[in-house]
């Protein structure tokens, strides 16, 4: 058993069937939750070689969009209550969305209610733009985020 992981035995779920979608992402102009989900579902968990979808950290229901206002809300469920990787997952989500969506979209990222012991504190940190910017300038953290975003599918 690997020592030191926050959650050494996560529950892994089968990947959901991918519904065939229109090839052109702009085939209908409005952005819907599934468009966003497609970008984030395969982000790799910081600790395990599985995607956030496989670990049920994210699901389609995690995402709400107000396309008119340009607002996106993502809630995610860390695998355990005291997950210290919650902020890393939050950063991964933010970076991925920044890359995939026009800058005028406002993104809020939260842990799903009741899923984390320090819910309020984690949410506050994840949505403090200055803290996020400073964290992403930390080379070690940035490297971890990049690994979660860009590692190849197994």
């Amino acid at each position: 058993m690997t020592l030191g992981l926050i959650n050494a035995n996560p529950i892994v779920h089968a990947k959901k069937e991918r519904v065939a979608r229109c090839e052109d992402p702009h085939c209908d102009d409005a952005v819907d939750p599934l468009d966003i989900y497609d970008f984030v579902r395969d982000i790799r968990d910081p600790e395990h070689p599985y995607s956030l979808e496989q670990l049920s950290v994210l699901s389609e229901e995690s995402i709400t969009v107000d396309d008119k206002l340009g607002r996106i809300l993502i809630t995610f469920t860390p695998t355990i209550q005291h997950c210290s990787m919650a902020t890393v997952i939050g950063l991964c989500l933010r970076v991925k969305l920044q890359e995939c969506f026009p800058p005028h979209y406002k993104v809020d990222i939260k842990v799903s209610p009741g899923s984390h012991a320090d819910e309020e504190a984690v949410n506050k940190q994840l949505n403090d733009k200055e803290r996020v910017a400073a964290a992403l300038e930390n080379p070690n953290l940035r490297q971890l985020v990049d690994e979660c975003l860009y590692s190849n599918e197994l």
Partner: protein
């Protein structure tokens, strides 16, 4: 006066957009010694691109140009910049945990001093009115007070450890040596030293129980008289505070800042910046890309001062507005900066109908 006439219509006219930074612009500062009579206005701006840019308006063309790029000094985001009251020095605060002091030596800006000591990102820096003191604050939860010595030397006079979280901004009172700080811990702290003892200590903490903010407080600004201040927060409100200025002047350290008004329902995303003009107009910059203006309302139905929205400029920028600052020289001229990497110069004008 048109500010009191609720029938007056205002508009925010865009004078110019200043582009050049290659990352978000976090803050800017008008040089206080410029923009009057025969000197052209100068602005310093700082960015996630690790540089500081100096902009000056041409006397001939009235157009703003970038005069200098201060680079290769800070190794991370430059978060805040502020000119000394005489306009001779510029202090820049960076995520690289240092504060740099720059001097304009014959048109060339040189870094003449680097203040070290904070354990991590420095968020804000402020000069006192007499230019004898500098204050800095950081994510390390501390506020440092530095004494300005001859020859561009700076000596740490005090390290204050009152805040329990990241300190977002420090601001000296406009006329007295009283220091204010606001934080991720949702409070505002007031600090002073008895005479010249150099014993700086906190004389007031404004928290939720004193009608304070319920989330991170991002900025503080004083009115011209210095008897009122306005604060802005992640809790989506602006709060106005008042204190007995005469009491403070006579050295009474028991004088407290009291809540007089909360402006709620006007913002639906974090308010990052607030600035009170000499004339009494409060400008706010928020994460919904808008700039808003508020003035005191002479509403006889309400007991005590109240404030009304004068104007909301939607889509002032394409992204979050990080800072709004009134020009010290010209009336009703404002500068703003944004995550979109630009700085905009505006004029608040009345629509003459």
């Amino acid at each position: 006066m048109d500010l009191n006439d609720e029938g007056s219509h205002f508009e925010l006219k865009e004078i110019q957009t200043l582009s050049g930074h290659t990352d978000r612009v976090w803050s800017l500062a008008w040089n206080p010694a410029t923009g009057t009579d025969d000197t052209q206005p100068v602005i310093a701006s700082c960015s996630g691109d690790k540089t500081v840019r100096i902009w000056e308006r041409s006397a001939l063309t009235r157009s703003w140009d970038c005069k200098a790029v201060l680079e290769e000094t800070h190794t991370r985001t430059v978060r805040s910049c502020t000119w000394s009251p005489s306009g001779k020095l510029l202090a820049t605060a960076s995520f690289d945990a240092t504060t740099a002091i720059w001097e304009n030596v014959g048109g060339d800006f040189q870094c003449v001093s680097t203040l070290e000591g904070h354990e991590n990102e420095v968020k804000s820096v402020s000069w006192n009115a007499s230019e004898s003191l500098l204050a800095t604050c950081s994510r390390d939860k501390t506020v440092w007070i530095w004494e300005v010595m001859p020859g561009n030397e700076f000596e740490c006079a005090s390290v204050l450890q009152g805040h329990t979280q990241d300190v977002k901004m420090v601001k000296w009172h406009p006329t007295m040596d009283i220091l204010f700080s606001c934080s991720y811990d949702n409070t505002i702290k007031v600090v002073w030293a008895e005479d010249d003892t150099g014993d700086w200590h906190c004389i007031q903490t404004i928290g939720e129980s004193s009608n304070g903010h319920s989330s991170t407080v991002w900025a503080i600004s004083f009115n011209a008289e210095g008897n009122k201040m306005v604060t802005c927060s992640d809790d989506l409100t602006l709060k106005v505070w008042e204190a007995d200025i005469e009491g403070m002047r006579s050295g009474d350290d028991q004088v407290l800042w009291k809540h007089i008004s909360t402006l709620t329902g006007y913002h639906d995303r974090t308010i990052f910046s607030v600035h009170w003009s000499r004339e009494g107009i409060i400008a706010s910059g928020a994460a919904d890309d808008a700039i808003r203006f508020f003035v005191e309302s002479k509403d006889s139905a309400v007991v005590g001062p109240s404030y009304r929205l004068l104007l909301k400029k939607e889509k002032a920028h394409d992204m979050d507005v990080n800072v709004v600052q009134w020009s010290p020289g010209e009336n009703r001229v404002l500068a703003s900066a944004s995550d979109d990497g630009t700085i905009k110069i505006w004029e608040l004008a009345t629509n003459s109908t």
